[in-house]
Subunit: 395 residues, 2 copies
């Protein structure tokens, strides 16, 4: 921060994304990176999306390049609501809006709900992008610990009753960073708590469509019949993150406020992208493509778990995921994953130290591994290198 | 606003865009609308942009669909800096970032600079999108009156010295809404004031490239050699607004803060759009296309001024523009343009009542006419209808 400038007070609580900084570092040649949260680029449906884009520019023509309404492109809302309703997220077009990735949904939620000092109930660890978005609103985090079944309801309940959160924010399915899915029982307990304590819930769900084993757990949105749950998801993992198209499903009065906030923030979603995604979906590609990604990710997750079992020294616990993009590991309590990160980079392998996902800076012995953006060969070699680093630290 | 919800305090100062609401209303069949600020869709370079998009998806492939850096796509920054430097806006890639339209640039500027209660010096009238963006930060407006030479320096100076603005925000060239261009003398006076009073200037410049008569006036950015001026512009008027690509040129420390804010707001600009616009520009289309739009807008502005002279009753002053998209009219002091708007809509013609562009709600007898989004026939018929409405009100 430049000294002679008079910045806004909120700038003090904002910081650069550690992950985005790591991503730059990991572009070094020879580096195997499990740090990012990038989908596999070789699986992007380039051909189908190119066709959809061509159709858009030919058929929709000038309308695809003109201003359009903030609420979002009607036909895509219609399609997506139909699709989501089949997945258990009941929805009508007036319940839906589009955002510039789900990151903007989180920002807009912050904007319409948070005053400085407001408290937000989150899982500990929680999604880094949410921390970044909400920090701009100078909120305080009530972070409830997790085990392998998700956030622990009793602790969350004690926190909520004592500190009265304005909102609860959760990634209940294949959580980023932990990969953990909240059980049905705990979802019901959380919804009961939210009802009793009168706070709306944000369900951030980019990953549930990427389930490669186990049984689907109903979304919080479904269990609450949409009441007081703001459902946030995105095309980033289903199609492409570069096109920046997220969406929100919520009660109409909340959508109205979020649309108002979006008008001020960036006027409207991208006309061209909305229409291209519509043509892509309407041609049936969404349902064709998801099994392809899911199967590839299943294979990579298995490869990584196999390599972990082979190369990691005893004393390191890793959570085997049922979907999503991440494996979460816990080192012995005395070991700092942040300190070991420098060692790992020397060995040409990278991860994200888990402490950045903990709003209060705990979780020093945890780390996140991404398995979707590496080849079988890279996964095996990278995990072997990491195993060497950990083994050395554990002696 | 739903009563049972606990919204953020800032929601009280946010309101829906009157213009966006009017745009919905003016979609009625038979309506001739001079209300929007829409570029002429029939002039969009559909073919050239389609080719650029095809090239992007073929040549850049997966990279165009993947996550990328918040700072923006390097080659487009290189190109655009070269192009802008030739136009007198000296720039290097580290001075530049991309935003989701210039609306997001205004939002991010608000985010990094404004605390509630901060004051901002603006022209009166000023751009409605800026009022919307800045309202979210609960600022106060110091609005300095304009004449046909732009903002009046003495009044601006008195306001600034007394009330100490945190920032000055101006649209010095072909202003939206007034179409007026600030003279060189007044630009120099404004820059002197900003230096003495230590406030940075935001120069919002979507229109200067659309000059169809008169001599170019150097940008504030150029006159200040980039010092303490945040230059904001967009591809919305040069190429397409639907693709949502704006840009900011500013000193590197300001870019760093804005990038940090953008990470929290929506992570990054659209990878695909940035690359497609790069291929479009790199093939030479930007310089080919601008004269086409400019010439068409010149013709339409002339048609509208001719019709105004023919059909408007005496006592209405309209400012003949040298570029941009708008003609600004002032009715006799006692007449309310807002009240007459309903009458105009009954006659199937629409404009924007000028009061919405005045942060303190004055300018009741002013109105804005857009000439870029209507045919010669529509312009003549629409102005004739308006003439009837005004004549009736003036008797």
């Amino acid at each position: 921060m430049h000294k002679r400038r008079r910045w806004a007070g909120r700038m003090k609580s904002m910081r650069r994304s550690t992950i985005r900084e790591i991503l730059k570092l990991t572009k070094q040649p020879g580096m195997i990176s499990f740090a990012g949260g990038l989908p596999a680029p070789e699986l992007f449906p380039l051909k189908a999306f190119s066709e959809a884009m061509e159709k858009t520019l030919q058929q929709d023509g000038a309308a695809a390049l003109q201003y359009d309404v903030t609420e979002g492109y009607g036909p895509l809302k219609e399609f997506l609501c139909g699709w989501l309703s089949k997945q258990g997220v009941a929805c009508n077009p007036e319940n839906m809006m589009f955002t510039s990735g789900s990151q903007q949904a989180l920002d807009l939620i912050g904007r319409v709900f948070f005053d400085p000092g407001d408290r937000i109930l989150v899982e500990n660890p929680t999604y880094l992008g949410a921390i970044q978005a909400f920090n701009a609103y100078e909120v305080e985090y009530l972070s409830a610990p997790m085990d392998e079944h998700g956030m622990i309801p009793d602790v969350a309940s004690r926190l909520a009753k004592k500190r009265r959160p304005k909102i609860g924010y959760f990634v209940p399915t294949f959580q980023n960073p932990s990969g953990i899915t909240m059980t049905l029982e705990r979802r019901l307990a959380l919804l009961k708590l939210a009802r009793e304590q009168h706070f709306p819930i944000v369900e951030d769900d980019p990953y549930s469509y990427l389930r490669f084993r186990g049984e689907r757990v109903p979304s919080l949105h479904q269990l609450a019949k949409g009441k007081n749950v703001i459902y946030v998801s995105t095309f980033s993992k289903l199609l492409s993150p570069g096109i920046r198209l997220g969406f929100v499903v919520a009660e109409p009065d909340i959508i109205t406020s979020l649309v108002l906030a979006k008008q001020a923030a960036d006027l409207q979603p991208n006309s061209l992208i909305q229409r291209a995604v519509y043509h892509y979906c309407e041609a049936g590609h969404l349902d064709l493509h998801i099994p392809t990604i899911t199967e590839a990710y299943r294979v990579r997750a298995n490869q990584m778990m196999t390599a972990i079992r082979e190369f990691f020294p005893p004393g390191i616990r890793c959570v085997e995921p049922e979907g999503g993009m991440f494996i979460w590991c816990t080192l012995p309590a005395k070991i700092s994953a942040m300190r070991l990160f420098k060692e790992a980079v020397k060995h040409n392998v990278a991860y994200v130290a888990g402490t950045v996902f903990h709003p209060h800076g705990d979780g020093r012995n945890t780390l996140r591994l991404n398995f979707t953006n590496s080849t079988a060969e890279q996964i095996r070699t990278g995990i072997q290198r990491l195993g060497d680093v950990f083994r050395e630290a554990l002696v």
